[in-house]
Each structure stands twice: as structure tokens, then as C-alpha cells.
Subunit: 463 residues, 2 copies
């Protein structure tokens, strides 16, 4: 009989969730994957084996009677193998089962300079081998959660009737007007106008492009890459990152915050339920408070507070002796992470929407409030991190928007954007989630370089 | 009592699938969306109303007794409105129900130069108003199918245990070495080396970056944008497009083709079941043979034939009097679309994998066959279109790959790619689907400019 091909995932699934009949059906099995460790004690040997389909490894047991014992005993960490054997249940052991090896063939050997040896490596070292680190435990967990979280995002929006829009990456505008854009030129001429007949750059946000779709489909979202040519060498900045940007017609700031809250809770619950092994690993190895923190957020009602109230509370804290690095709290300032974290961690002790920011420190497309000083913006602040999501109600009034854009000088270039306010425009709102930062938040990973497959940060590119 | 907020989709869903109790529960309703047409006959008026959540519009009926009759009677095409009214079932009419309007308020009026008036517009004209065309019937259908098809792709791979990898867009390599890349430079200096310390360009494929992940997770896929700075002004070329690129360890060319076949059938069946209104529309308005063609493919066993056999059949056809534009059929040539279509349409009359192409016309990473002349590549050809998917088994043998790359001169730059063959490499395969072309195929749309939200083609960029 041909051996039955099976993956680590399927094996664990059947042994853990299958009935006796299913388990008995597992006769001779064939596994294909990679050696994590190999320990040969002479008469008996143990291979920790993983094929990447499940976080937990499978133990292969061989003896000096096994076929190809010479191959088995000399297997090196990292080698690709095909192995056949029989399932042996070991309910009294740490692993619920092992595989008694019958034969083994070497699919791909490992050169002696293989950088991922058994010992523990620093994240800094692993960043230098971005093409190998997906095999390390931490990155098996990170990238699996990254994949599942991406799908969770799609599921949340698709199941709520949102239309997914692929907004363009090459564009003529620079979104919020911050100017930190990458230009795109053709290889031969280096002339930015040569290909499209005008200057183009990489997008910093899909929002402007997705708004017209909200005015056609009501609820829409983008989920794609965005770029910032900022020389910010911090643990939270990358020059290329993925963003989720939903946009909803006939929705005000309150409705916007409702969706943000639902979305964040959905993502947390989804990952905790779909990736329990990985989350346990992060909680043990990366951040001991992770699960407690995420559970707290998933079960909290997110508080809402205006920027103005927030500033008052920060002033009060300073007066009462609290020391911030920047103790100079004034209305109109752009709050720093330490201020945001104080509000969410010390004041409300949970997730907090800060709303209605001074218009001078927010983007031109945000809706001006009746006070003439603030805009209908909201930032979601969470303990241990600070800002996680930013959103706003958009300025739907043509005259007010036109004036602001004339001042910025982008009214001509974005005449199509202004059009949407003249042709059946309506109240609408949206938000942006930095996907990589959400992933950092959910995994507890501290550096954006360690959650992206091939991080792009300034002065660093190898792949 | 507050009116109940409801969308077009929810209304159709309850009236079509709900039980009597659910239908009775619909008391006074509130709808928000846009006016498609308005016809006021004096005592009675009809608004064709759509909020973008469902392909079919809802008919609003008002009379000269309705509140805000003046607002209602003067509603213009494109206006955004909030309307309240009562559900009236009309089983004897074309529409199963209508809304008897009680009140209406204008959320956003329409300037008189609104370009999307009731009359039929050419696709060429609509391309000039990419920010407005999502409201036109055809584009409501196209973009909804685009969204659902994206999700279908994710569902197919996620449910089969594939890990989604966000491969980078900014990269140092040009993939297949064709050279048609966009360079990325910083705004200020225009020096391509300034930001990352070396020359970078926009990716043409995620494959090289995703292969190392297949050697860690077994089955993986990318789904993201790719770029080609080709001045190909055809209906099938865009300089920015989305690609799906799966990669599977321990999989040979046969296994690769099995997955391609499953994936294409899954996508077709998914869209036909999830978007029946839209597909009926495409079949009526865009391509009368669409549903028949798709059903045929979904129910066919995809044939497999070598390139060499294909060339023999084409030669035979020429000998027997068939006229191709290029009648000069020779082994070694790159087949043109007319040749591919002849094989799939005339010879096998269904989907066809053409395999084992001459190595000179295929990429360096494809696995050389034992004949020394061909590589283990496969192109999926389908009737009416030609090539839909391209894939190959990858060259896993270090020495052979190194020689090919040294010849191309990319062995130094891609040393990390070569590493994967030294560190537990194994047999592996993958393929690429041009997502926009798959969408064209499934919708029957003939121009790539009409399936992308904001198409980027050479000499054309406005948004």
C-alpha cells in the first residue's frame, strides 16, 4: 500500500479532534518537511520535524534498525526530508504522538554555514537573514498570524457588505500633502514625466481614491501597500507598509467609531481563536501581559473623550506632579505618545477614542466642527501602544473644502476629488489602520522590522 | 416609532428569502442612497434609487400628497437622499416590491454638469471619469465582482492552508531580468541611491521573495500589486496590476497544474454563485457567450499537452491550409495568442495546459528537464482569451541554477535566492495569475482599463 501523504497540521488535527476510527485509519504515513534538530543516541534517535503547516513540531523516532539509518543519523538542522513511518500515540508524553520512522530520504541537504542553528538568535541577527528567518519559531508564529489577520480583515469587511477597492499605488497626488513621497521614474530616462506624461509618486494613502467608491457603493475599503519616504529610524516606522482604509457613506463620526471598535475586537477575537498556539508562544516569549491586555480590550467598551478634555486632564496631571518628558501641555499641540498613553493607561485604563482635534494639526479633508476650531477626527488609543487607528468624518461641504484646498494649493490637482462634493456628495467617514502596527499590537512584537516579511526602512535594503 | 434603517441588499434579501414574519416586521423604513432616475407624472412620481449595496435598484413611489413633494419632484440624477417610506409588495410587477415614500430629504444635490446622465455612455468616455463611473451599472457590476473575486482567492488559499505573504513592492531586483522596471527615487534628490543606499525599483513579481517562505511554510501565496514599465498600448496591458503568486514546496509540475485547475474552477463557481445578478448582466450586455463559456470551463477536465506536441499540431494545421497571421511555426518560437487560441479553441475545445517549453524563451528559475532543451513550465490556455495562468516547477539544483544566473549576471545580487538551494532546498513549484486578466475573463470585459479602479497605462494618468 502507498503511504498516505499528511501534513503536521492534519496529523495534529486528527489526533486532537478526530474520532477513533479516523485515528485508526492512519496507517503508514508520508511526511515532507524540515529537520529542526536531530539527536542520535546510537540505538535510538529523535528528529524534531516541522513542515511549516502547524506551529508544533512532530517527533520522529528512528532506531539503528531503521531503513536508511545512515541518512537519518546524519540529518542536519535545516535539511529537507521525506519520511515514512507509523503513528504512535503517546498520551502520557508532552507530545500526544510520535512517528516511528520506517524510511527516510534526503530531499535537500544543508551547507555547513547554515545560519539558523539550534541556539537562540537575536532579532537583530535574524533581520540580516530575512530569507531564512521564516523558519525560526518566532517568525513561524509572526507570519502565520500576519496571514490569518489579513484574512480576518477581509472577512470582517466582506461579511459586513463592504466592497474591496484596489486603489492605485502610482499616483499624481501626495495625499495629505506632507511631501515625504517616493517619485517613480522610468529606468532609462530618470525623467519623472517620461512614462505617464506627468510627475508621479508612490501613494501615501488610498483614502482620496477610495472616497468616490464610497459614494457609489456606500461601504468600501482598501487594503494594500502605502509608502512614506521618512527618515524616521524608529521601531514603528517603515517606508513601505500595508494599510486598511474603510470609507462609509451616510456615516458620521460616532458611526465611524462604532465600526472601528467592532473591527478591532473582531480581529483580536479572531486571532485568539484561530492561532491559540502562536498567541500562547507570544505570551510566554515576547510579552507576558499580552493575552491579559488583549482580553481586556476585547471585553471593554471603548471610551470616548474630546481632545480638549484630554488636554485638560493632562494639564491637571502636570499640576498634580506627574512628569512627562514634554510637560508643556497646551491646547493646540500634537500629543506625543507619552501623553496618549497616560490618557489610555492611567486615566481611562482601557481603549480610548480621542476626538475633535484642533484643525491645524489634522488633514485638510476632515470635517470642520461648528466651533470653527476643531475637526471631527478620532484617534483610537490603546494601553501599551498609544495610537492604533485614526479616522474622521470627511468635509462634505464643497465651499468649505474648496477654501481649505485652495489654501494648500491642491484644488486644481484634485479637482476630481472636489467633484465628489458637487455630484451627490453626502456625509461620510472613514479610518485607517496601519496593518503592521495592528499586527505588532496583537503579537506583542516590538519592532516593525520583525513583523514584515522584508522590511523596508531607510538605509536598509538587501532583498 | 423611529424608522428602521435598511439597505437595498437587506431589503431584497428579506423580501426574497425571508419568511412572512420577517417581511411583516418591516414597518416604516429609512433608505439612504442615490437617485438614478426620477420621473414625475404630476399626481404620481417614480424614483429609481440605489445605494450601491445591491445590483438591482429599488423603486420609490411618491404622490403629490407626499411630504416634501417639492423636494421629491425636483430630484436630479445623481442626488444623494434620505427617504422614509413603507414597503409595498408587488409580486405581479417586474420588481417584487416598491417603497411608498413618506418623506425625503436631500443630502447632496448635483451640479448641472454631472457627467453621468441617464443616456448610455461609451466605455471610452467613462474612462475619463474614473471617479464617477463606479456609479454606472457596468462598473457597479465590475467592481463588485472584483471585490468578491479577491475574497474568493483569499478563501481558496487560506482554506487550503496557504500562508499569505506580503512581498515587498520596493526591491533591488528586477525579477525575470526583462528590465522594464520603474525606478524609485526620493523626491528631493532624484538620486535612486539616496534613501536606501542603493538603487531600487518597483517589483515585477513577488515570486523570488515568496519562495523562501514556501521553504518555511510549505504552501504560501502573495496577492498584491506588480509593475511593468512597458509601453504596450494594448487592451491587456497596464503598468500597474495585481498578481496572485502561490508557491508550494514538495510539489512538482503535475501537482502545480492540479492546484491551478482547482483554483480557476473555484473562482468561476464562486462568482457565479455569489454574483448571479452581475453575471447575468455581463452575459446580456457584454458577452452573450459568457456563462456558457465559464460553465464549460468549470465542468471540463483541463487537458495537458507539451509545447512540442502543440508545435507539431500547429505545423499540421498550416500544412492542411489553416492561415495564421504568423504561419511560420517552428520549434523554439514564442507562441502568439492566435496559436494558443487555436490549440485551446480548435484542437482541444476547452482549457489546455501547454507544458515543457524551450528553455530559451522561459525564465531562469524554471527547472530544466532531462532533455536539456526544455523546462518544466506550464501555461494555462483557455478559449476566447489564450493564456490565463503561467507556472513552473522551480530549478532546485544549486549548480544548475548558479550557472544560469551567472550567465545572466544576477547571481551576486540574488545570492540570498541561491541560498535557498543550499539550505534544505527541495522540489517546489508555483504559478502566477494576473488578477485583472482573470477578472476580465470572468466578466467578459474586453479592456483592462475597464476592470481596474484607476487604470495606469502609459501616457495616461489623471488620478
Amino acid at each position: 500500500m502507498e503511504p498516505m501523504k499528511i501534513t503536521n497540521f492534519e496529523l495534529y488535527d486528527i489526533v486532537t479532534n478526530g474520532d477513533q476510527e479516523e485515528i485508526n485509519s492512519l496507517e503508514t504515513l508520508e511526511l515532507q518537511g524540515w529537520v529542526k534538530t536531530n539527536r542520535d543516541n546510537g540505538s535510538i534517535g529523535f528528529v524534531e520535524f516541522n513542515d511549516g503547516t502547524y506551529f508544533k513540531s512532530v517527533q520522529l523516532v528512528y532506531t539503528d534498525k531503521s531503513q536508511n539509518h545512515d541518512v537519518l543519523s546524519s540529518l542536519k538542522t535545516g535539511a529537507a526530508i521525506t519520511v515514512t513511518g507509523k503513528l504512535v500515540l503517546t498520551p502520557e508524553n508532552k507530545q500526544p504522538f510520535e512517528i516511528a520512522v520506517e524510511s527516510c530520504s534526503l530531499e535537500g541537504d544543508v551547507d555547513d554555514d547554515y545560519p539558523l542553528q539550534k541556539k537562540r538568535h537575536s532579532f537583530e541577527f535574524l533581520r540580516e537573514i530575512a530569507h531564512i528567518r521564516p523558519r525560526a519559531n518566532t517568525f513561524q508564529a509572526v507570519y502565520r498570524v500576519r496571514s490569518v489577520l489579513s484574512f480576518a480583515i477581509h472577512e470582517f469587511f466582506q461579511n459586513n457588505g463592504f466592497i474591496y477597492v484596489h486603489t492605485p499605488l502610482i499616483t499624481t497626488n501626495d495625499g495629505e500633502g506632507a511631501g515625504n513621497v517616493f517619485d517613480v521614474v522610468t529606468h532609462d530616462t530618470k525623467d519623472p514625466n517620461s512614462f505617464y506624461g506627468r510627475k508621479v509618486n508612490l501613494t501615501v494613502t488610498g483614502q482620496l481614491h477610495v472616497e468616490p467608491f464610497a459614494l457609489a457603493f456606500r461601504d468600501v475599503y482598501t487594503f494594500g501597500p502605502a509608502f512614506r519616504a521618512e527618515h524616521s529610524n524608529t521601531v514603528r516606522h517603515a517606508s513601505e507598509f500595508w494599510m486598511v482604509e474603510p470609507e462609509m457613506a451616510f456615516t458620521d463620526l460616532e458611526g465611524n467609531m462604532d465600526v472601528i471598535e467592532d473591527c478591532v475586537k473582531f480581529c483580536i477575537n479572531y486571532i485568539m481563536s484561530a492561532c491559540p498556539q502562536e498567541m500562547e508562544f507570544f505570551n510566554n516569549m515576547i510579552d507576558k501581559t499580552l493575552l491579559e491586555r488583549l482580553n481586556h480590550v476585547a471585553n471593554s467598551d471603548f471610551k470616548r473623550m474630546t481632545y480638549t478634555e484630554g488636554v485638560e486632564l493632562l494639564k491637571k496631571a502636570v499640576k498634580e506632579g506627574h512628569k512627562f518628558e514634554n510637560n508643556n501641555i497646551e491646547w493646540g499641540m500634537d500629543l506625543q505618545s507619552e501623553h496618549e498613553r497616560y490618557l489610555t493607561e492611567e486615566i481611562v485604563k482601557g481603549p480610548l477614542f480621542l476626538t475633535d482635534y484642533p484643525k491645524e494639526i489634522k488633514a485638510f479633508y476632515m470635517r470642520e466642527n461648528d466651533d470653527g476650531k476643531t475637526v471631527a477626527a478620532c484617534d483610537l488609543l490603546v494601553p501599551a501602544v498609544g495610537e492604533l487607528v485614526g479616522g474622521s468624518q470627511r468635509e462634505e461641504r464643497y465651499d468649505i473644502l474648496l477654501k481649505k484646498m485652495q489654501k494648500l494649493g491642491n484644488d486644481k490637482e484634485l479637482d476630481w476629488y472636489l467633484d465628489t462634493r458637487r455630484y451627490g456628495g453626502c456625509k461620510h467617514s472613514g479610518f485607517g489602520i496601519g496593518f503592521d502596527r495592528l499586527l505588532m499590537y496583537i503579537t506583542g512584537m516590538q519592532n516593525i522590522r520583525d513583523v514584515q516579511p522584508y522590511p523596508r526602512t531607510s538605509n536598509s535594503i538587501k532583498y
